[in-house]
Symmetry: C2
Subunit: 152 residues, 2 copies
DNA sequence: CTTGACCCTGAACCGGCTACAAGGTTTTAA
DNA sequence: TTAAAACCTTGTAGCCGGTTCAGGGTCAAG
């Protein structure tokens, strides 16, 4: 199996496969006499595993750890458990902020519908106004204390 | 106003402010005799505007366009409208895939709870199994046609 | 007079690829 | 038969939106 076929079989781009090899996620494969990379079934499975993890947005560093675990099945399960848990927490936090984001943008979009006839754009108006206010719904109040007086 | 004060007032890190200047989002400010950057109110507003847009995850390139629009209020509103629309679509698409992701991870997490007593980890089991199957729920069937036969 | 907070420039680094340059090999179509 | 197209190789640089680091200068307080 050449790299292009492996790519077609897994849905991972050729350049990405070579990148994974450079990063040590895939072992350097055997070579054909012409220098082409030659892959077997086990490499395909390993790459599918990686692809699957990436679809879950697990970082490469964590995938490396999962692969190490998979290699030695005697080890404990707790670490894997925790890794997935953390990933889930990360995704949930991100989901929450994305939902707030969507509300904000939808709100902004409405402004333009409402204001459309006017020469001034409602959206721009709103963004500038938000920049003026001390605090706003989308990023809270921002008033940290500077530890030193101005020297003007 | 020095850079640190501007940073405190806007919640944007000092390094990021300098980065925005390099990228041309902020004009090079006046300097004090000692070479320190000296900012005024208008720069603060501009930076607040940028910060607000970034909170909406609008890319810097688009913010640049918004700033150009804001500078000449005679221009048409349609482009801004479209820009925000596209941003909203992007966010909604991302939101959708994040929700699928969350389901996947939660499912995976359950496997470990169920399997915990066994020496083999349910999560790893599942990930490996998914790598074996032709298709899976999380990234669909991946069977593009290679345009060339294997030469093995 | 030294400590520590603040400021400066320029460059390298982060993740996770992606693209390009400049070549070699193999298949396919005219 | 030969030329184009598709595939492979290596190495390097670029993408985004910053962050960090090295190696200094400035300024006020204790």
């Amino acid at each position: 199996m050449r790299i292009g076929e492996l790519s077609a079989a897994t849905g991972v781009e050729v350049e990405t496969i070579r990148y994974y090899e450079r990063e040590g996620l895939l072992a350097p494969p055997a070579r054909q006499t012409n220098g082409y990379r030659a892959y077997g079934k086990s490499q395909l499975e390993r790459l599918s595993f990686i692809r699957h993890c990436r679809a879950l947005e697990i970082p490469l560093a964590d995938i490396r750890r999962l692969l190490e675990f998979a290699a030695q099945p005697t080890a404990e399960c707790g670490d894997i458990d925790r890794l997935i848990d953390e990933q889930l927490l990360k995704v949930r936090a991100r989901l929450k902020s994305m939902r707030a984001l969507e509300r904000q943008l939808a709100e902004l979009r409405k402004r333009c519908d409402a204001h459309h006839a006017a020469g001034e754009c409602g959206i721009l108006h709103e963004l500038v106004a938000a920049a003026h206010g001390e605090a706003c719904a989308c990023h809270g109040d921002v008033l940290p204390v500077s530890r030193r007086k101005p020297n003007s």
